[in-house]
């Protein structure tokens, strides 16, 4: 227990450190602000006076107005409400996908890199196979098997993200496992999994956090793409991709129907990407992953 807490606080410390340094950058603060807005919308959607589901067929495809800021869709539902609840769909899918990808990919990478023996060959061969499959096709095939649901979209996008995490974790372990403090833990009797997860992982965290952010943007895009192709989260659950899919049929009658959700989607992905880039640049300058030797 205590050891886990120690490792956790070590991880947390390093993450906070990075975030603190990052928020100092002007170029990313706008992205942060936008993502914060999206996240707040997703979390507090229920307390807002917005209803994404109630249909009003008499008032379908209305242009933006004071009662419906983003207008209404073909079933007379409030598009703003659907964009706000769609943020929840997008973020839940992205978050879930990143968690799945990390939970599977990171241990694979850790084990492969740590042992470096046949386990490495076997695991990385599997990862290469996964990597060779086009994300979207793989996700669609998986959804064809699992059936169409948010969980399926989430799992499909998550599995598609496994290789990214595995590769980065592996590279990190290979760089870190030779370091003295790792040897020290091994010498006093720390087992392999203790070393991988408690000693090495907290130090490999920064590039993994970057990866998580990059993957989040990919996941949001992939989820939207799946919805756009009609295999994403099933209606009537609001989803940006689904709104784009349906909205594009009404480009003549109600151009804002597709354009506004599309804009929000674009800005969200752009924000994630901006932060991801800034983080990468930041970590590149700071000798990625390997702890700094301060105080010397």
């Amino acid at each position: 227990m205590a050891a886990r807490r120690d490792a956790m606080s070590a991880m947390l410390g390093s993450t906070l450190q990075v975030l603190r340094r990052l928020s100092a950058r002007r170029s990313t603060s706008l992205s942060f602000a936008f993502l914060l807005l999206v996240a707040l919308a997703a979390v507090f959607a229920d307390v807002l006076p917005l209803d994404p589901l109630t249909q009003n067929l008499a008032d379908s495809l209305m242009p933006p107005s004071s009662s419906a800021w983003f207008g209404t869709d073909e079933l007379g539902r409030d598009i703003l409400a659907r964009v706000v609840y769609g943020a929840r769909t997008s973020l839940v899918t992205a978050f879930g996908a990143v968690v799945i990808a990390a939970l599977i990919g990171v241990p694979i990478g850790l084990v492969a890199g740590f042992f470096g023996d046949w386990r490495d060959s076997v695991l990385m061969r599997c990862i290469d196979v996964l990597l060779a499959l086009p994300n979207i096709l793989f996700a669609m095939a998986l959804i064809a098997v699992l059936g169409r649901s948010q969980a399926a979209a989430l799992v499909a996008v998550g599995i598609a993200g496994i290789p990214n995490f595995a590769r980065i974790a592996r590279a990190q372990v290979m760089a870190l496992r030779q370091l003295d403090f790792v040897t020290a833990v091994r010498s006093f009797g720390g087992g392999s999994s203790y070393i991988m997860f408690r000693t090495i992982l907290p130090n490999a965290l920064s590039p993994l956090v970057v990866q998580a952010i990059v993957l989040a943007s990919i996941a949001i895009l992939l989820e939207a793409a799946l919805a756009f192709l009609g295999v994403g989260v099933p209606p009537p659950t609001p989803s940006w991709g689904e709104m784009l899919r349906t909205g594009k049929s009404y480009l003549h009658e109600a151009p804002t129907y597709a354009v506004l959700p599309g804009l929000v989607l674009t800005l969200t992905i752009l924000s994630f990407d901006t932060i991801g880039r800034a983080l990468t640049a930041l970590l590149d300058r700071h000798d990625t992953g390997v702890p700094e030797r301060r105080g010397r």
Binding site: A2, A3, F181, V185, F188, G189, G191, R296
Partner: protein, 326 residues
Amino acid sequence: MTALDPAAIVEELPRPLLQVRDLSVRFPARGEGKALKAVDRVSFDIGPGQTLGLVGQSGSGKSTTGRAILQLQKAHSGSVRLLGEELTTMSATRLRQMRRHMQFVLQNPYSSLHPRMTIGQILREPLLVHRSVPPARLQERVAELLDLVSLDPGMMQRYPHEFSGGQRQRVVIARALAVNPDFIVCDEPVSALDVRTQAQIVTLLQSLQERLGLSYLFIAHDLAIVREVAHRVAVMFRGRIVEMGSAAQVYDSPAHPYTRVLLDAVPVPDPVRQRERLRRAPPDLHFLEGDGGGCVHGTDHASSNTAEWHEVAAGHGVSCRYWPSR
């Protein structure tokens, strides 16, 4: 001079805590070429409360020997027995349990502490891994350890980078002591420190040995420090031990030419003499090959199937390998 098995030399010593026999480590060759024999048929014993100093130039295989003993490096052949138990063939689980009897103090105190853990967390780690202390007593034990290495227990919440090198090495030593080991490999424990701090750490190690009855394998290339701390000294050259004896025997009457070269290389405090020595041409260092060739004492080790080892005095042995060619 008669050829003796090195084991025979240590027979009269108290029951050895650590027994190393014919330990060899090889590293696969990079690309073409032969595998590197980083450690070659090394044998020695260390008794309880004893320190064996292991000296030799950089690259001679000292660290690899230490790591092979601690099973951090796979041995190619040979045996390592700690408290009578064979370590080289032990299961991973049992080995982890055995690690509480043997610990490691690394050379670089800057890199051997986890940079993102507090001193308290670092010292708690081995206790948690070995479950040697009930959770309620953890804090108390950590304070005790800090006290043992003369650090203020109030520093528990600090991170390694807030400490000086000497303080960090104390933390490293405290961590090694956490599980009450019997034996510690100290691999150049002071070479990264300034001279004053070196003395303090050496004193600390000595006092800990006295108080806790520890055994050390003390690896160093600084012969002066080794003379101070070691009861016995082994000289290593190209992966082999070429001479071993009590500190006095090895330092005062070196038997192997390489030992003499090593001792001659020790800087002397007198600057005039030092300058003069440096001006002198280095001795002919064309040593015989480690394998093959005749014994300088004329013994045919191959046909008599004896080790290439000769006792020059009680407890003082020397190898007939790596003598200068004539």
